[in-house]
Each structure stands twice: as structure tokens, then as C-alpha cells.
Symmetry: C2
Subunit: 201 residues, 2 copies
């Protein structure tokens, strides 16, 4: 692409550095931004500068927080002996939205992925071990994606934690609510049969 | 969505104000941005602030330019008597890439769209008429999208310009190069037959 302006070229390059945004989409977005007034665009740009300069992570669970301790960890009604291990705050937010969980979290900040060069030291594994050593923890729940990376991370964490006197569980894997069995993939269906649960009314 | 941080919420709201980016995608992008280093993110945010504060439009054709006159208008080899009317600089860039056009441009900055409340006064129609009045123009080429808005704008411009002694043309509409006729839609095929051209080897 031959840009008529270096400013436009720069903004397009910045936007297309984000995952899922190509150069053509980025140019469309930049032209959209140019139609807005100065103040709106300054606020837009400044939101990212503020974000990176003022962002704070919870000192306990490493979720993003505006204060030293996040709302979940600071809530006296939460059971701090149960830790749910998640990949990032998106999963934490999704679980919080279910209103089914009363324990606390540990944000790994990624999953082990040898193919992408992400080893255990790149994610917050040692921080989890430290937390288990220093506190009275009764249960750790793995809530990681059912992908190769999620399973690898599950297995690695299990090996690091199995010698502790802690209950280790994983969120249930089975048929999604509303799914029709004839269209469910074989691996999910197989897992659902072998992990069958006592029927309750 | 219940965000754990106002900074994240603000950045997500800013990104999801862009067309085609929903709140879930925006959150994914914000978490991606948070993994980058401070300087990179500051450059990212600053690129938009620089863009809106330093952007300049060509005083002749209204394309985006880093100087008072854009590269096309400033080029003495271009035929300034032929004006190609386009919606925005994306179309201008696409036509420039063909290297088939030696005239100059006029950037409307939008298309007439009554349904979106965009009338002729919202786009640069008067600027085009002024340009025709003040200069020696021999031909005006409409290069607008083949949509309802494009056709409305074509027709409006034609009515404003038809009394001038200027050749008015539109880019050819027909079968795209490489298209198979049996899969071409009826309207395109019908237009292509009624606008048939003399065969040339």
C-alpha cells in the first residue's frame, strides 16, 4: 500500500499490529477515526497511554485491578481457601458472571505452549506454588481451555501440586447445555460418557 | 460486562466504538495490548493523537496529505483537466495502484445517504462545483461504489454538472475479470449486456 500521508501510514501500522486486524481493515478504521472530532480521538489515543501507565495487578491473584487488591480478593465473603486457576481475566470475568463460584482466582497470564515458546516460567506457576505454600488452601480448580495448551498446562500444574494435601479438580467437561447429541463431536461425547455423573432430579 | 478495572473498561469502550469491533473482541485486544511494553503502547496511543492533530488535507482535491498539496495534485505530469470523483482515499489509493489513470481526483468524503442523514451538503459537492467553475476541466469521471448510495450520489452530481460543457463519464460496470458468467448475478449480467462494448483484439 502506498499511503498519501505518513501519519495515516503510522496509525494503520499500529492498528494492524493487533491480532485479527489486517491493513485494509486498519485503513478503514483510521478513516473512521479521522471523521471524529479532535477531543474524541485524543481521548481514544489517551485511553491506551493511561492503560499501560496506570494499570495495576492484584498482589494476590494477579488479576487486573485499580487498587492493590482486586475486588474478589478484598471481599471477606469469598472463600480464600479455594483457588480457581484461569488463563486470563476474560475467563475470570466469565466465571464471575455465572455467580456460581465463591472462592478466589489465580490468573496464570497465559498457557504453556512449546510451539509458541511459552514455557512454565513465562506464566505465573511459581506464584501459584508460593501461594499454596504460604496459605491454607483446601482446593485448587483448573478452569483452562480444552485445547492442547490447556491440557498441557493442566498436566504440568497437576504434577507440581499433587504432593500437597490439597483437593485438585478440573471444571466438568461434557455436553454443553442445549446441545443435540447427534451433532456433538466424538471426543466430547466419549469424555461425557466416561465421566458420567450420578443422576439427580 | 463487569470489568475489574476502570482503565480496562475505558480502553474496551474506546476500541468497541470502532465499526466491526464488539466488546468481546475489544477486551481480547486490550489484553493483547497489556502484554506489550510501555513504550510500544505509548506509541500506539500517540499515533492517533498525532493523526488527529497534525492531519492535513490537500487544498485542491481534499485527499489526505502531509503538505498543502497532495502528491498527485503537485505532480506536473498529471492532467489536471480530468477529475475522478471518489468517495474516500481508499478508492483513490486503489485507482493509483492500477497505474492506469493520469488525471487528478476529487475526494467527496462520503456518499449521499438519506437513510443515514447524509445529504449533499455533508459531502464535498460545492467544492467540486467551485473547482469546475474556476478551472479548465474537460472530463469528470464518477468512480463511486455500485450501491444505492453510490448511484444516488452519481445521479445528484450528474444533475449538478450536466449543464457544463464537460464530458461526464462513469467507470465501466460489467463482468469482473476472471468471473464465470454462470455465477454472475442477474443485474450485473444484464448491465454488462446492455452496455456491451465493440470487440477489440
Amino acid at each position: 500500500m502506498n499511503f498519501p500521508s505518513k501519519l495515516v501510514k503510522n496509525a494503520v501500522e499500529q492498528l494492524s499490529s493487533l491480532p485479527g486486524i489486517g491493513r485494509k481493515s486498519a485503513l478503514r478504521l483510521v478513516l473512521h477515526i479521522l471523521k471524529k472530532d479532535k477531543l474524541t480521538v485524543e481521548k481514544f489515543g489517551d485511553s491506551f497511554i493511561q492503560l499501560i501507565n496506570r494499570i495495576n495487578y492484584c498482589s494476590i491473584c494477579y488479576s487486573i485491578s485499580d487498587s492493590d487488591t482486586c475486588e474478589v480478593c478484598a471481599n471477606p465473603k469469598r472463600d480464600t481457601r479455594i483457588i480457581c486457576v484461569v488463563e486470563d481475566i476474560r475467563v475470570m470475568m466469565a466465571i464471575e458472571n455465572t455467580m456460581q463460584y465463591k472462592g478466589v482466582y489465580h490468573i496464570l497470564g497465559g498457557l504453556i505452549s512449546p510451539i509458541d515458546g511459552v514455557g512454565p516460567s513465562e506464566i505465573r506457576v511459581e506464584e501459584l506454588i508460593d501461594r499454596v505454600n504460604d496459605n491454607d488452601i483446601t482446593e485448587i480448580i483448573f478452569a483452562l481451555s480444552t485445547t492442547m495448551e490447556g491440557d498441557t498446562t493442566n498436566y504440568y500444574l497437576f504434577r507440581r501440586l499433587r504432593d500437597y494435601d490439597i483437593k485438585i479438580s478440573s471444571i466438568a467437561r461434557g455436553i454443553s447445555i442445549g446441545d443435540e447429541l447427534e451433532y456433538t463431536d466424538e471426543i466430547t461425547l466419549g469424555t461425557a460418557i466416561s465421566s458420567r455423573m450420578p443422576y439427580s432430579e
